[in-house]
């Protein structure tokens, strides 16, 4: 199973993205307006790492939260065979009104997860801007969704699957393609 990103490359991608975020948002209100919201599960540790990078660069803290989008999925009541997916808590301990929100996820594929995340986020308030950060973009969009920051573009076949492993969840950092 080919490993397309190793720990080193993941780290460097995230550092690069952190710089890009600051560049693009520098002209506006400053770090105070920024907030990172990771989409569960693996978007959350990625968001935290970005917050850490930004802190190392600017010596300032960025508000960080976690979003569970299970209840907003469009496939929930359709084809579920057996048990419902397990829900975990959403934790956004700050107001998102007028903020510049960076949604963070590990893999961008059909775009449906991001659509659900947008629906969920809007319930919490009215951000000024929402931008999307993904570690991997594997193509095959089914909705008009685009990432603003991409770690790596990975062309894949639909029969393949992209597995992201992160130290915080899986004990190692690597991205592999299966199939």
């Amino acid at each position: 199973m080919p490993i397309v990103l190793d720990a080193d490359r993941i780290g460097r991608s995230l550092t690069r993205i952190a710089h890009e975020i600051l560049e693009r948002n520098a002209a506006h209100g400053g770090i105070d307006e920024l907030a990172l919201v990771g989409i569960r599960t693996r978007g959350v540790p990625l968001a935290r790492r970005l917050a850490k990078s930004i802190h190392e660069i600017t010596h300032q803290d960025v508000a960080t939260g976690a979003l569970d989008i299970t209840l907003y999925r469009d496939d929930l009541m359709r084809t579920a065979v057996g048990a419902q997916p397990v829900i975990r808590k959403t934790e956004i301990p700050f107001s998102i009104d007028d903020r510049r929100i960076l949604l963070v996820d590990d893999v961008l594929y059909t775009g449906r997860t991001i659509r659900a995340a947008l629906d969920a986020l809007i319930e919490f308030g009215r951000p000024r801007v929402i931008q999307l950060v993904v570690l991997v973009d594997r193509g095959h969009r089914e909705l008009p969704i685009k990432a603003d920051y991409v770690g790596k573009n990975l062309p894949t076949a639909q029969t393949q699957s992209v597995q992201v492993h992160l130290m915080e969840v899986d004990g190692r950092d690597e991205v592999e393609i299966i199939g």
């Binding site: 907003y72 009541m77 419902q84 397990v86 808590k89 319930e123 919490f124």
Partner: protein
């Protein structure tokens, strides 16, 4: 999970924990500015209540609406039941309109089982006669876990009209399944025969039952269900079994006091206990909505007819 939730007796301990964990996530929704998620959008849920109930029915209704379901309340006093229509016919008529779920409260034990045999809709038991009230036990367990971080090994004492209480049966089943040490206490005339077979300690002496308890649950003396002389007077009941500050002193210092409501102040519980620092009675009510959201969510998906 099975198609219906008719009783705690139908749940494994894994399923109980799944419901409790899901409740955590559901509770957060009640803290948002917009208390709604689209999860059950387009689903129709009928609340079919043959017994009057403000608390449970509104709790279910709020839970259903927060999940964006379409709700329909049928109170039997105003419906065809008054014209003599049987439960079976009412259910089949409702079923013809294809609801996804029916939440049923009824005065007869086993009413939910009858409905489940007749209807394809998922049935949630909101209280059937003297049999079970599963969502009450689940919200009680959630409340206990909030305060005590666990259920296993806790001493939980339940006091009151044990014979006629569906809350008792559901709680006993749930607490023993999750490994709590359960004591039940009440007058000898109100002890269900054979109850010890459910794995509980049985006592008619309140001080023994309450000694070192982590949780004390008071049950209502159900006057409307009683036939025959089960105890001489509410005064004597309060003196022998009522929860007072003095009796509380025998329990653990961080004991919590619970009651499914509605309370008879001065009969099973003194006002200063009901309103005092150990009481979590109002939290129980608040948790009820989140627990019911969890149950609705978990039952709504899944394959047709497991």
């Amino acid at each position: 999970m099975k198609k219906d939730l008719l009783g705690i007796g139908d749940l494994t301990s894994d399923e109980i924990y799944l419901i409790l964990d899901t409740t955590e996530a559901m509770r957060e929704i009640g803290q948002r500015p917009i208390k709604k998620v689209p999860t059950l959008r387009g689903k129709t849920i009928v609340n079919l209540f043959y017994e009057p109930s403000t608390r449970t029915r509104t709790s279910f209704e709020i839970a259903e609406k927060r999940l964006s379901a379409d709700t329909l309340n049928i109170a039997a006093t105003t419906s065809s039941a008054q014209k003599g229509e049987t439960l079976a016919d009412t259910a089949l008529n409702i079923e013809a309109m294809a609801p996804d779920m029916i939440v049923l409260r009824h005065a007869s034990s086993g009413a939910g089982h009858l409905l489940s045999r007749l209807c394809k809709s998922r049935i949630i038991n909101a209280g059937d006669g003297m049999h079970e009230h599963p969502t009450q036990a689940l919200l009680d367990a959630f409340t206990i876990r909030e305060h005590k971080k666990r259920l296993e090994g806790l001493k939980v004492t339940i006091v009151g009209d044990l014979l006629h209480s569906r809350v008792l049966r559901s709680n006993v089943l749930l607490l023993t399944t999750l490994g709590a040490e359960v004591w039940v206490c009440g007058p000898a005339t109100l002890l269900p025969p054979g109850i010890e077979r459910l794995g509980v300690h049985v006592s008619t002496a309140i001080d023994e039952a309450v000694a070192d308890a982590d949780v004390i649950m008071m049950l209502r003396i159900q006057q409307e269900r009683m036939h025959g002389a089960f105890f001489p007077s509410t005064r004597e009941y309060f003196n022998t079994f009522g929860m007072t500050r003095a009796r509380l002193a025998h329990a653990k210092p961080d004991v919590i006091i619970m009651h499914p409501g509605p309370m008879n102040r001065g009969v099973e519980i003194a006002s200063d206990v009901a309103d005092g620092p150990y009481s979590v009675i109002l939290e129980q009510v608040a948790n009820g909505v989140a627990v019911r959201m969890a149950v609705l969510y978990l039952l709504a998906g899944g394959a047709e007819g497991d």
